[in-house]
């Protein structure tokens, strides 16, 4: 505690001399900012369903995220079977979520459930990690997920392929909306881990040349499903 008081004491002492504010009339210095939101300055984000889906898809192309918009859970199963055959999947890692438990058995592979507390080495052996998410962000092509919504921390980063299953109603226009959603959903008890995933893992550390799959998943797939009738969630 004493170190804390020492540092805070030095800070208060240092702040006795006032600094010039940023060159802006709106700076009041008491945290009451001009009331404008980042929405007015950040890249434009569409607000309607169709526009959001379009913008998200466009960002996926740029980011090299594999994106498909399917019409039904049956089509989602077909998509997963396609991937299983193309990549030779043998083991799926996943977590409990209504939509996942209704479709994953049809893929016909052993499933490693995070709820059973598998060892790190076992998750690492899985060919794919399949999760749901909290939201998709049209403005940036990002996936918002948390340790509570998507089976913990390791599942979405350890296997070489990450498949995200999302509903159309989970599309959000922009980052501002994403942080509002986090607040609304979790404000009394935030998950210990929240992440925005924007494309498959990458690096440019060697001659600034883009390489995918540096430490995280080499492939990121997002499958967008229509909402269930009756409005139930994932």
């Amino acid at each position: 505690m004493s170190q804390r008081n020492e540092i805070l004491g030095r800070i208060r002492e240092a702040l006795r001399l006032e600094a010039h504010g940023p060159k802006h009339a709106g700076a009041t210095g008491d945290g009451a900012r001009t009331g404008a939101t980042p929405r007015e300055w950040l890249p434009v984000a569409p607000n309607d369903q169709e526009g959001m889906a379009e913008a998200f898809a466009r960002n996926c192309v740029e980011l090299r995220t594999q994106y498909s918009h399917v019409a039904s859970p049956a089509e989602l199963i077909r998509k997963l079977l396609e991937l299983k055959n193309a990549e030779g999947w043998k083991l799926i890692a996943s977590h409990r979520a209504p939509i996942l438990s209704s479709i994953l058995p049809s893929v016909g592979l052993p499933i490693l459930l995070m709820e059973n507390g598998p060892a790190i080495a076992d998750i690492e052996r899985a060919d794919v990690g399949i999760t749901v998410c909290d939201a998709l962000i049209a403005q940036t092509g990002s996936i918002l997920l948390t340790s509570r919504s998507a089976g913990g921390r390791a599942l979405s980063v350890l296997p070489p392929h990450h498949v995200v299953v999302a509903r159309e109603s989970q599309l959000l226009p922009d980052l501002t909306a994403a942080f509002e959603l986090l607040k609304k959903t979790y404000s009394d008890n935030y998950p210990s881990f929240i992440t925005l995933i924007t494309g498959p893992s990458r690096t440019g550390d060697i001659e600034r040349i883009l390489v995918l799959g540096a430490h995280g998943p080499r492939i990121l797939t997002v499958v967008l499903l229509p909402d269930e009738k009756g409005g139930s969630t994932l």
Binding site: L15, F179, Y190, I194
Partner: protein, 466 residues
């Protein structure tokens, strides 16, 4: 007397400025950066307004640092995080060493943190016998070479793929290749083994959110996510200036950091961590420690004139546009933080007498100030550092030269005579230019002396306005 750091800087800088291979490598990578940065910046509806908002937000945070830092720490503690306040680099290192000892750790994995470079954490841990591995690809490469990072965002930008291939071949036994993808996969395989057995993961943080008690980490590779997820203990080391008031502030800062830092709309992973594994969660570290480091940041805070240097979000944009950085290279600085921001803050963090030379290694062109996403007045701070350095110690020769110069420009008659004489003498100077007896050797060693015009501007003006 120049400090040893100044001597080092001078000798390394003059070597690298003449190295054409180095120059073309750096110019090429920065050209790519500029193109994507411009493209992403253009997508903003109003980049200037965004900069202003970011500057205001950081101003608010830094000028009420006591309040926000307490809020940040209290929120973290409430959810089971151990917060340690470190006044000095030594305090932070000792905390880490004691923790590693207490937990009987052997392998420690790190994701990129410049703050740990600042306190020389790797050396301390290695000396105590721990196996410390950098997981960021660029950091891993410079660690294998026994070097310090070249750039605070792109640590290995001074190396070619051939050099990296030789390095991996020699140190890891991998086959030689000129394919960056294969090289990356070699590092990935190497690191996966380490992740599975590491006892402690050490990370930095890009932001500290006071409102919710979370650190935010920005990265592309996924190594920070693995570092903060797999080991039983996660330690985050961050400077006290990282604070942002609200969670929603990230909606502005994450895209600005990505745009200015790497020319991306958003980096691949932006993760917010607010505690160890909670009761209802499936995995994650059992313990989460946050080390809040002062290490003379409060001294910079006390300098109201340059306090805004603490607004820095370490995007590295000022390095990328700096004509000095691009020629002398990052490692010449001999500092943790290179380029304009490093030249501004290092004299505060490590003492003006040893580091005052950095503020003279600037053309004062202002490109840094213009590009800074949080509007730090970098080139004026360099000027202020020069002023402070001169007040500390100025040479008799400098004082006399400036006195003579002041006399000259205040006496037009004398000025004209001196100009005329100089013009007459210049052909004689050409005979010795560049040789050892040239009084202007400091200039002529690498440049040609400008020719004094036949007619002064005053004479020209008079002849035109008769």
């Amino acid at each position: 007397m120049p400090s040893i750091f100044e001597d080092q800087f001078r000798s390394s800088a003059s070597k690298l400025t003449g190295d054409l291979r180095h120059r073309s490598l750096i110019q090429k990578s920065l050209k790519g950066y500029e193109k994507s940065r411009d493209e992403k910046q253009a997508r903003f509806q109003d980049w200037e307004a965004a900069r202003l908002a970011a500057a205001e937000t950081k101003w608010e945070a830094i000028n009420h640092l006591d309040k926000y830092l307490s809020e940040f720490a209290d929120n973290l503690t409430a959810r089971g995080t151990k917060v340690f306040w470190a006044s000095t680099a030594e305090d932070a290192r000792n905390y880490m060493l004691n923790l590693a000892l207490e937990k009987r750790a052997r392998t420690i994995i790190k994701s990129k943190t410049m703050t740990s470079e600042e306190i020389h954490l790797n050396e301390a841990l290695a000396k105590a016998g721990y196996d410390v591995v950098e997981s960021d690809l660029g950091e891993f490469i410079v660690q294998l070479r026994g070097e310090v990072p070249y750039h605070l965002v792109f640590p290995a930008m001074h190396l070619t793929r051939d050099e990296i291939s030789h390095l991996f071949h020699e140190k890891l036994g991998s086959p030689e290749t000129d394919n960056p993808e294969e090289l990356t996969m070699t590092a990935r395989r190497e690191m996966r083994i380490k992740y599975c057995k590491a006892d402690i993961g050490i990370s930095g943080a890009n932001f500290a959110v006071a409102e919710t008690g979370m650190i935010s980490i920005t990265e592309n590779e996924g190594n920070a996510r693995l570092t903060t997820s797999l080991p039983k203990i996660h330690v985050a080391l961050l400077g006290i200036e990282k604070v942002l008031p609200k969670l929603g502030d990230l909606a502005l800062f994450l895209p600005m950091l990505a745009t200015a830092g790497t020319g991306q709309q958003l980096t691949c992973y932006n993760s917010m961590i607010g505690g160890p594994r909670q009761a209802d969660e499936l995995d994650g570290p059992e313990e989460f420690h946050v080390i809040l480091l002062d290490n003379r940041r409060t001294q910079l805070l006390a300098d109201a004139e340059q306090r805004d240097a603490l607004h820095c979000i370490r995007c590295g944009a000022c390095l990328n546009v700096c004509p000095i950085f691009r020629n002398v290279g990052g490692q010449s600085y001999g500092t943790t933080y290179q380029g304009p921001i490093g030249s501004v803050i290092t004299p505060h963090l490590r003492g003006l007498p040893d580091w005052k030379h950095l503020s003279f290694a600037s053309s004062l062109c202002g490109a840094c100030t213009e590009t800074c996403p949080v509007k730090i007045d970098l080139h004026h701070h360099l000027l202020q550092n020069r002023r402070n350095a001169t007040a500390l110690e100025s040479s008799q020769l400098d004082r006399n030269s400036f006195r003579a110069f002041a006399f000259l420009v205040n006496h037009p008659g004398v000025f004209e005579v001196v100009a005329k004489v100089s013009r007459l003498l210049q052909p004689l100077h050409r005979l010795v230019a560049g040789s050892k007896i040239d009084p202007l050797l400091a200039w002529t060693a690498t440049r040609e002396a400008p020719i004094i015009a036949k007619e002064s501007f005053r004479q020209y003006w008079k002849s035109q306005h008769k």
